[in-house]
């Protein structure tokens, strides 16, 4: 018998099984061999003969799930079935992936809100990127990865993963676990790799099968024999790969879900601490002391250690830190952990992680001010204001007093009201009240860093001038808790195991049957047909029947 197949698998895409719902008859289908198959089965469970096919085509068989019906193909009545069928479709799954892909791509056109250097995205995008930027913001693309749409998409992918996998793994498991060895010759000749060869009369059929089975066993096949039929199989593990990797992905998504819904599982805060200062960490019961924060540069004299534009390159950011916990009885801070925190080397205690994230050199800590009598030019004393803990009042010479009426560490005008942007003294501003024996009523004076206000205080008798700034470095630390990390990385590990099983192994099955002086060989694999053919040819060579399984050979026959 010759099989003439003209590159069928390439030019004509394989049949779309998902779209074919198996006719809709609610009766079991009986095969010629007498076996009664459940509804939706395409290949007889017993002998492998194709069912429900009008004309005997010579196209290779669709071997998916060995012809077993999936739940989504047989149950289509209740609403559960409808939901199930929707999510079990690979078409839907592919669309979900494509939508995620497109959204992710759109999300990279402009920077996301999280990373822009402004707290007012509504203004920022329009200002920086014009009309397109404004549209980007208004459509919601500027924060798309936190949008409900994206969350829903992830959830749908999760459901699709569960349903798709269950819908397929069950019939596949049943089919592979309950394989019959003797298959109909139709099943064998209609495999993609197949050969039918008349056995020469002088050849002993039993010996031929024995030799074949020995040759295949040498190639690490697991062989089962029944009468004059053989089933050689190896690498079944490969078939579970997709389901295991899907389980990994489901665990990964569950991890992400948990970090959102479980209180206390996720924390993302930051804290700035000046050299030598101790600060309470936000949301957690720890205190951190920044013993010293340093920034190290590469050798600036060596041009090879500079960036292309000649700028110095930072070698290291590091904070020597001590972590404390408050003793509930005494109220005193007790040291818990001590050590350096640097980029790539966070400090870890329990679930809490502290990352080196920022470094600000020479931040103003305190200012020294001088009070001067404009009339007499007499200097009435210097006083120091700690910008992070200013005293309410400063007493100077000659009974002069300076009181702080108002203090804005990070001064900004909002409308026409003064206010502060943050608690960091980036642009300190003060309203002072000066009192003294020579003044009938207190004098008010303003002081804003970097702004000349001489005009406002013109009428005042006393002026306050800056004499010196006291600066220190401060370090920016990220305060993180992510209790879902073990789940997330476990999921990813399982995913990787599944991928490796699926892609680096291959499932190969070879059916051999001797019937009516003919040797029927059919073989199937989930990938690497070339390797399968080569293996078959090598196995056949040993038996004295050199058969070719190459597609070329089949065409030439």
């Amino acid at each position: 018998m010759s099989v003439i197949i003209d590159k069928w698998s390439i030019i004509a895409p394989a049949k779309d099984v998902d779209a074919e719902w198996g006719g809709g008859e609610m009766e079991n289908t009986k095969c010629e061999c007498g076996h009664s198959n459940p509804v939706g089965t395409t290949l007889c469970e017993y002998c492998g003969k194709p069912l429900e096919e009008e004309n005997a085509s010579d196209q290779p068989l669709e071997m998916r799930y060995d012809g077993k019906a999936r739940r989504s193909q047989t149950k289509k009545t209740t609403w559960v079935d409808h939901v199930w069928n929707f999510f079990s479709s690979v078409k839907i799954a592919v669309w979900l992936i494509v939508i995620t892909l497109v959204i992710s791509a759109l999300g990279t056109i402009f920077p996301q809100e999280r990373v822009i250097p402004s707290g007012n995205p509504d203004v920022y995008y329009k200002q920086k990127y014009g009309t397109l930027g404004d549209l980007y913001y208004n459509v919601g693309l500027s924060d798309v990865f936190n949008s409900p749409l994206f969350m829903i998409l992830l959830a749908m992918i999760g459901i699709s993963l569960v349903v798709c996998s269950l819908d397929r793994v069950v019939p596949l498991y049943k089919a592979l676990n309950n394989q019959k060895i003797v298959k109909s010759p139709v099943f064998l000749t209609r495999q993609r790799v197949s050969r039918t060869q008349p056995i020469p009369e002088e050849m002993d059929k039993g010996e031929l099968l024995k030799a074949l089975s020995k040759a295949l066993r040498k190639k690490r096949y697991y062989i089962r024999q029944e009468g004059s039929s053989l089933l050689a199989e190896k690498g079944r593990i490969s078939r579970w790969g997709p389901y295991i990797n899907h389980i990994g992905l489901i665990i990964f998504l569950v991890g992400i879900l948990l970090r959102i819904v479980m209180p206390g599982w996720y924390l993302d805060e930051s804290v700035f601490v000046q050299d030598g200062k101790t600060k309470k960490l936000p949301e957690v019961g720890y205190y951190i002391k920044n013993v010293k924060a340093t920034m190290e540069l590469y050798d600036q004299k060596d041009s090879r250690e500079q960036a292309e534009n000649g700028q110095p390159v930072v070698k290291k950011y590091e904070t020597k830190a001590i972590l404390y916990k408050k003793n509930p009885k005494t109220g005193k801070l007790q040291e818990v952990k001590k050590g350096p925190i640097s980029v790539n080397h966070p400090m870890k205690i329990g679930d809490l992680l502290l990352y080196q994230a920022d470094f600000e050199a020479n931040q103003t800590q305190a200012i020294r001010l001088q009070l001067t009598d404009k009339k007499t030019k007499a200097k009435l004393g210097e006083f120091r204001i700690n910008l992070y803990k200013p005293a309410p009042e400063y007493t100077l010479k000659n009974g002069m007093k300076v009181r702080i009426l108002n203090y804005f560490p990070d001064f900004v005008m909002e409308g026409n009201r003064p206010t502060t942007k943050s608690e960091v003294a980036n642009r300190p501003a003060f309203v002072f009240e000066v009192t003294g024996p020579k003044l009938k009523k207190p004098e008010r004076s303003w002081m804003i860093a970097g702004t000349n206000l001489d005009d406002i205080s013109k009428a005042n008798r006393y002026t306050i001038d800056l004499t010196r700034l006291e600066t220190a470095n401060s370090t920016g630390l990220m305060v993180r808790i992510d209790k879902s990390l073990p789940i997330i990385f476990t999921g990813l590990g399982i995913f990787m195991v599944g991928l490796s099983m699926g892609f680096f192994w291959y499932h190969r099955r070879i059916w051999v049957r001797v019937k009516d002086d003919n040797l029927y060989v059919g073989a199937h694999t989930n990938k690497n047909w070339f390797g399968l053919r080569r293996e078959l040819e090598q196995a056949c060579q040993v038996t004295g029947l050199s058969l070719s399984f190459s597609p070329d050979q089949r065409r030439e026959e």
Partner: protein, 403 residues
């Protein structure tokens, strides 16, 4: 030491080039004296040996560079692209030993040559690592990504061969596939054009610079190619004259505001123009479309086999890319930046690459997208990888813009 390193890479480049020539000889040579089969076998072996020697020299370059710099050379565009080139060669050698298709070499090796030439356009000096990169994950994460992408690139080449074969074997010159195929080949020519123009201008020591402002700060922008387009609202500081041109032809639109955006646009324009000129010359002198030119190399191939090679390369590359580009990436991001995923442009494009190949696999395994459709998908995947390599690093700013 440094000289040895440079010579090693230069030698690797030439060995890749010689390997390309040997492979083309293997597939096209007439060789009536020894017979076609012997000729093909002989030259194919030469091509393979040359490729292996090139790869070994490339590894030698990598080792010397590690010795000099103390870190794995995957920290900037030059280093990464050069390593990607090595990965492509390595992936090819692996695939060759599985399938032994000579023609594949005639297509992969020129791609390796282009890649290495593209890499050398970027500054090649050894530079110190910024704190975020100082981790053993630099070697692990980036190399795994590159190896994965190398295999995916071989999948792309096989897909391309499939398309050339499909169009040629069926005489489908007037199909859309033929037109798009020609388009993809022209895109590759533009990459060649970019490399050639960069070589010419840097060989001439060409310089031009403009003053303009970015975010209200004055900036001087340096051009390494003749400015066709100048930054928006800019003043010329200096423009070397070239081929009679002394002034930029037009100004970049106002929305193109990034710090080096106009210079990049200028480079893109040059790539497109030079690619099209190259294409025009080829058409003029050879009187054939590119795919017609390439078809004789592949005419004897079995489509089914080529399809399988493409899928196999992707099936090898996909898990490796996943491991490097997503899993290792997440572990390192968690260590360095305190979050395992931050939707940084580069992270996003790694995700997009991964999603794209996931779609490829689902359509292929579950919906029967073999052959033509599958080959187009493999081409699309490589376009995404190239977008990530070229466009994302250069155009979109983000945490990964190291070059």
């Amino acid at each position: 030491m440094e000289q040895a390193m440079e010579y090693a890479l230069l030698a690797a480049f030439f060995f890749y080039l010689f390997s390309t020539i040997a492979y083309v000889m293997a597939v096209t040579g007439k060789a009536s004296r020894v017979g076609k089969d012997v000729h093909t076998q002989r030259w194919s072996r030469r091509g393979l040996v040359l490729a292996i020697i090139g790869g070994t020299l490339h590894i030698l370059f990598t080792v010397i560079r590690i010795a000099i710099s103390g870190h794995f050379p995957t920290s900037n565009m030059f280093e990464f692209t050069a390593f990607l080139c090595l990965s492509i060669v390595a992936a090819y050698i692996v695939i060759y030993f599985i399938y032994r298709i000579t023609v594949l070499g005639a297509f992969v090796m020129p791609l390796a040559v282009i890649m290495l030439a593209y890499a050398s356009v970027f500054p090649t000096e050894v530079k110190p690592l910024i704190p975020a990169l100082q981790s053993y994950w630099l070697g692990i994460h980036v190399t795994t990504v590159a190896i994965g992408e190398g295999a995916l690139a071989v999948g792309f080449v096989a897909g391309l061969i499939y398309l050339i074969c499909w169009v040629g074997q069926g005489n489908r010159t007037h199909t859309r596939t033929a037109a798009f195929l020609e388009g993809v080949l022209v895109l590759l020519l533009m990459l060649v054009g970019f490399v050639v123009m960069s070589g010419i201008f840097s060989g001439l020591g060409y310089q031009a610079s403009f003053q303009h402002s970015v975010d209200e700060k004055p900036v001087v922008e340096e051009y390494s190619m003749l400015p066709i387009v100048s930054p928006h609202d800019s003043k010329v500081s200096k423009v070397d004259s070239f081929a009679g041109l002394e002034k930029p032809l037009f100004e970049a639109p106002s929305w193109l505001k990034g710090e080096k955006a106009a210079g990049k646009l200028n480079t893109v324009i040059w790539s497109v123009i030079s690619g099209l000129i190259l294409y025009g010359l080829l058409r003029l002198f050879l009187r054939r479309r590119l795919y017609e030119l390439l078809f004789p190399l592949v005419k004897n191939l079995d489509l089914e086999m080529v399809d399988e090679v493409s899928y196999r390369a992707i099936a090898i590359g996909y898990p490796i890319f996943t491991l490097g580009g997503l899993i290792f990436a997440m572990i390192w991001a968690h260590e360095a930046w305190g979050r395992f995923w931050g939707f940084d442009p580069k992270e996003n494009w790694a995700l997009i690459t991964w999603l794209f190949y996931s779609v490829y696999l689902h359509l292929r395994l579950s919906r029967g997208w073999h052959g033509l459709k599958s080959s187009w998908m493999s081409v699309g995947g490589f376009v995404v990888i190239m977008l990530n390599l070229i466009a994302i690093n250069l155009v979109l700013a983000g945490l990964h813009s190291y070059a």
